[in-house]
Subunit: 213 residues, 4 copies
DNA sequence: GATGAATGAGACTTCATTCAT
DNA sequence: TATGAATGAAGTCTCATTCAT
């Protein structure tokens, strides 16, 4: 336990420690004893703060998806054309992954171990986020910015795949910063989805790389 | 145990059954007892065929990555321009995911539970596959088909993310067949990476959708 | 579980019970389940107190050798000629074997099942005890009490053999008490090692039997 | 499996290999699989030759005690005074321990794992051997060579302890040969048991060391 | 005589959870 | 609120033995 952590509440310390441990070893690779140990807590302290180990897992999931969902709504409601909002939601997701990489890893690796209501609640919010993406894409098609040949559902999944997959390979100390990666991804996606006859328009130029990386 | 399975060897039956169970519940969500039960085998039969539960997990991983790697090399060595070979490797990966979806799910969800040498062997082959993709992209840049602004490493990760993520959402009985999804993904990727001045060329036309879906 | 045992700690109860069971059936002849049952404990209780079954075995070994070693040092450091101290260390060992017969049996029968560090720690203490005996014998040779023809190392092994072997045949309810056996053994050993010209000296008389048994 | 072993029968190879393995790791530390492997045999081969693993253990025990018992009777029936025969039985035991050290180790360490009839048969022969020793000692007392103060039963146990214990510490490549050790042990024992007024007699001189080691 | 795949009882151990203090 | 000893269900794995070939 690091000194700084002592000031935090037991609950906070358990959450911080378990996110890191789950990221590293997976939910089933970490025992409650280990969490107790690393967080400088106790059995009693743990079960006083969390009904069960799964509730801890749920809390981690819910914290992340709740935060992400809120950001998603902000992007969706922001001013701008669908393409602009698409670009901003992609950037935003990536920044969130960078910032909460451990939580994201737990989110994508261990969601299967949520049961019953816990699973449903998280699933519902995740679906809600997909809906946001779908709405942006459909609005883009309606506004004739986005190519209509690409089925929005598949397109959404392609975008999520590209973006979410970063939790597997992206490293903070790597060659590219998250902002640079965001620039590249935005270029790739906008280039794919933007109608060809719009690509020369000045207003879309900011989405494309100009040998800047 | 289904009747058809009886003819297979114990090892085969255990592999088939465990791939499905691991896909559904995760490696740690399935006990050896459950595998025994479902495969119509026994404790002894299991441990006669596999040194440990982890060796079974490794076997599933190795089978998939070995198959995929072989296909990857075939695509790489095939005739055609880098763009053509890029398109074919994408299609191929997706067909593999469709065909071996359960194995793929295990591969991406439970690789973290491989330890020591088991992990290293799988990691090495996975990295080898990434190398194939990188070489194709770099050859495309050299041959001036692929835009040089996109760093190949990030581009490769974007492609893998888009393609591999399908294991999460793709369903055989879904609205789109794997071939249709492959067409869409190829369109998205080629559209992103192909130099703009080449997009009108007749020879690249087959990579782009024409409202056919 | 006997009533009296309930007041003891779980750890204590497990130790007492397992020493008796190991003596009777050998380390591998007793299961953890059996120890649990007999000690009125539980799986969790057992593993809360001992990291493993082997750690329990180690604890039994270490307790005995630690006690014996301490007694050995006391005898070595006590006042008296080497012969007197030799006699007292022999008596002391036998009293320890009588008192802790079950532990001694485990010590000599199951030490081979200690692994790694556990084995080394016990081995080191056992060797330390041998060193004490060797020092006494060498001091006796130097002081011209003990015959110099007998190599101390072999002599020490002969003495240990004679004494330690009692764990196999000695029984508390047998014909001879441990004190009587000690008298006999001391007679045998002193008679063997004492220089012949000293045997008539008054001061060595107490080491020899006078038809008293 | 060494080449030389191939010519031996399966039964012989299993016996040789298992004696060595049991000596090293103890009966319960060696599995039938390991014996199969090391002896270049098979499950079928093993169970064709031995009804069970315990029967193998019994065979090892019985071979050794049978051989030893036969030698014991020879010593007992040989010409000579009780003291001479006592000396020869001690030498003989030690030579047997040297020659069959692995079997002896198994004999003393793993006899407890023999059950029922197997145990009884071995126990009976072991007791028979003790009887031989007792008879020699009693004859020595009757013939006034051996001191009557030493109870024969305890004396026998002291002698067996001294001698049998060698299986624990004696090593073929050690500083002293088994013959030298036998000389020392005979000196120790005869010196202890021989009446003091006989020690100067010429005929007992050969039993005592004269700085020859 | 020999083979080795298969058996299944039972071994050791882990671990989320409870509860008296 | 917090503690940590204790619980016991469930997990992975071992191993002597059997039996169809």
């Amino acid at each position: 336990m690091e000194k700084e952590e002592i000031r935090l509440s037991t609950r906070e310390r358990i959450l911080n420690v378990s996110i890191k441990l789950f990221e590293e070893k997976g939910y089933h690779g970490v025992s409650v004893d280990e969490i107790i140990e690393e967080s400088g807590s106790s059995k009693g302290g743990f079960y006083h703060n969390f009904k069960s180990k799964e509730e801890l897992l749920f809390t981690i999931h819910d914290q992340y998806i709740q935060y992400t969902l809120a950001r998603g709504y902000e992007c969706y409601k922001a001013e701008g054309t669908p393409i602009e909002r698409l670009a901003s939601i992609i950037r935003d997701l990536l920044i969130g992954i960078d910032k909460y990489k451990a939580s994201v890893t737990v989110f994508f690796q261990d969601y299967r171990y949520l049961t019953g209501e816990n699973y449903k609640i998280v699933e519902k919010k995740r679906d809600e986020y997909v809906e946001i993406m779908l709405k942006i894409l459909e609005e883009g098609i309606k506004s004739k910015e986005i190519r209509s040949e690409l089925p929005p559902k598949i397109l959404a999944m392609a975008i999520f795949g590209m973006v979410d997959w970063t939790y597997i390979w992206y490293q903070k100390e790597g060659q590219y910063s998250i902002e640079e990666i965001a620039d590249i991804f935005v270029d790739i996606i906008i280039n794919s989805v933007l109608k060809n006859d719009l690509k020369d328009k000045e207003r879309y130029a900011p989405f494309f790389l100009k040998n800047k990386i």
